[in-house]
């Protein structure tokens, strides 16, 4: 920064470290819990330092311990989560970017109506209208399919809203120049708008991927076929053990494993993600 006073720098680092500690603490605890044998976890205050069962617990989580606890194989569930999260992220970005483009760059009858219809979806989260939505999906024969898992969750306006906000910031001069070059609406979209939106797309991708990955109630309702189970469902399944104690060590190990893909996406796309947000703000 501008000045370099050691005391200010020190305070800055201390605050950040405290923040990191507070924010990461629950996850650290999950990791710690995943390194202990099963019986220690609910009969004493949880320790803060990892135990010695790391290899055993993770080994068993990956090689069938979870199946023994009543779930399909972890890797299969992670695959399904991946397909679902990707479908939601890609599908939603695709339909949102074109509809936002139409709403910002065209003037057509019922433009405002279309906008408000789409915008209304911000107002009711899936879980509140989940039963009628299930009926619709069942009537369309989409139970036990990736389409049934993903498409209903695409019906939300957040991405459209963000793209619209971003498109409004693109200088009109660009469009005028493109026009002079004789570019049509589609060419302008592919040559100018899409490349400019690259970072926004990345930011949304991260948000939506995580949203899709973390879904629980919806996949639970629409699947009865184990080959479509997702990992978060699998974790809940290990937790929901009426009248007995869950196998917390395996649950935590699976939870940590389930965190890897979304965390990887967040970290890998961090630069683009933040940049996308910065550009929206300009």
């Amino acid at each position: 920064m501008i000045e370099n006073r050691p005391i200010v720098t020190l305070v800055t680092h201390i605050v950040l470290l405290l923040g990191v500690a507070a924010v990461a603490f629950p996850i650290w605890l999950a990791f710690v819990a995943s390194t202990y044998p099963v019986d220690g976890l609910v009969s004493g205050v949880l320790p803060l330092w990892p135990g010695d069962q790391f290899w055993i617990n993770y080994g068993s989580a990956l090689t069938g311990g979870v199946e023994a606890a009543g779930s399909p194989p972890v890797l299969l569930m992670m695959m399904n989560s991946l397909v679902m999260a990707l479908a939601i992220a890609v599908g939603k970005i695709a339909i949102s970017i074109i509809s936002a483009y139409a709403i910002v760059y065209f003037s057509f009858p019922f433009r405002a109506t279309a906008f408000w219809i789409i915008f209304m979806t911000l107002m009711l989260p899936v879980e509140v209208r989940i039963l009628p939505t299930y009926e619709v999906v069942a009537n369309l024969g989409m139970l036990d399919s990736y389409a049934g898992l993903a498409i209903p969750l695409i019906a939300s306006a957040t991405a459209t809203f963000l793209f619209r906000q971003f498109f409004l910031t693109i200088p009109d001069e660009l469009l005028e120049a493109a026009r002079v070059d004789g570019a049509g609406a589609l060419r302008f979209f592919f040559d100018v708008v899409l490349p400019l939106s690259r970072t926004n797309v990345a930011a949304l991708f991260v948000i939506l991927f995580i949203y899709g990955w973390n879904q629980y109630l919806w996949p639970l309702l629409v699947t009865t076929d184990e080959s479509y189970y997702t990992i978060v469902m699998g974790i809940q399944r290990m937790v929901a053990v009426p009248d007995s104690e869950p196998l917390w060590h395996l649950i935590m190990a699976t939870a940590i494993l389930a965190m890897i893909p979304p965390v990887f996406v967040v970290i890998a796309m961090q630069r683009l993600f933040v940049k996308g947000l910065v550009e929206t703000e300009k």
Binding site: G19, L124, P132, R179, V266, I267
Partner: protein
């Protein structure tokens, strides 16, 4: 509604472009949501075997129910708590992260990855941390002389759900604030520094005002989050208890409908919730459109 000065002329193309989203929205949102609306004037058993049209009886029942009115108050306290806590924490952290030169990426990474944790998993973690008997947090408080028991004390329970809900949101807010700060031209800040403004003064006179669009956007996002997306956390930690101390509106909708299978009553609550949000969004939308130009 805001619009470009320069636009394309197209007869068919714009419809093609909005069509996919409109179809998805109509089929998977408007259709089921309108069924939910219709449900709010029905008295029906869970299986849909007997249905009676009851006009506004479900609504009358709701407003005659003191616990429902109480839920409003709880929701306001909760939303204020979550929004304030998660935004202030994020703002402080972003301001600090914007200052550091060394280790900036490491800090950033460590601060944003909790964003990736599934709420269903986070709920389990909070159960562990705050459990009055085995929880680390409860243990620490006991050492300090405070007997933490969110199973018994309504205020303890409220603090718990606010912390749990905010935790999930801090990473998100942090990213937006940091992005906003990094977008502020360094020359502005340097100029202020030359004029002798210290870091705190610079923050309040330059950075914070320039962040107002971000702050406003986040305010909307956080309120919507606290209102709608937090029932998972409440469900996993307090189930609305003790004695309704954390029974926020959206949890009540979920609980009465999905768990209690009182479809009419739950639908009536969704309608009221929707009206509140429509009102909120219209106000906010006008405000965004007018005051905060992106």
């Amino acid at each position: 509604m805001q619009h470009k000065r320069v636009i394309f002329q197209g007869r068919v193309l714009p419809y093609f472009l909005v069509l996919p989203q409109l179809i998805v929205t109509l089929v998977f949102f408007i259709w089921p949501a309108s069924q939910a609306l219709y449900q709010s004037v029905l008295l029906e058993d869970a299986f849909g075997l007997s249905t009676e049209f009851v006009w506004f009886e479900n609504f009358e029942d709701l407003f005659a129910d003191p616990s429902y009115l109480n839920s409003f108050k709880t929701t306001v306290v909760f939303s204020l708590g979550v929004t304030t806590l998660s935004m202030i924490a994020a703002l402080v952290l972003a301001a600090m992260a914007d200052r550091v030169v060394r280790g900036a990426t490491a800090y950033k990474t460590l601060l944003i990855w909790p964003y990736a944790v599934a709420p269903a998993v986070a709920g389990v973690l909070w159960w562990f941390i705050f459990n009055p008997t085995i929880g680390v947090f409860a243990y620490a408080l006991r050492q300090l002389g405070y007997d933490w028991n969110h199973f018994l004390s309504g205020s303890d329970a409220m603090i718990l759900v606010i912390i749990a809900a905010s935790w999930k949101q801090v990473s998100y807010n942090f990213l937006f604030f940091l992005a906003g700060m990094q977008a502020i031209p360094k020359s502005l800040i340097e100029a202020a520094a030359i004029d002798g403004a210290g870091p705190v003064k610079r923050f309040w006179t330059i950075i914070f005002p320039l962040l107002s669009p971000t702050t406003f956007f986040l305010l909307v996002v956080n309120v919507v989050y606290a209102f709608f997306e937090t029932f998972g956390i409440v469900h996993a930690t307090t189930s609305g208890g003790p004695a309704q101390a954390t029974n926020i509106l959206v949890f009540k909708v979920y609980n009465d409908g999905f768990i209690g299978l009182d479809l009419g009553g739950s639908a009536a609550q969704s309608v009221i919730l929707m009206l509140i949000v429509i009102a909120l969004t219209v106000v906010q939308f006008r405000y965004i459109e007018r005051k905060v130009q992106y």
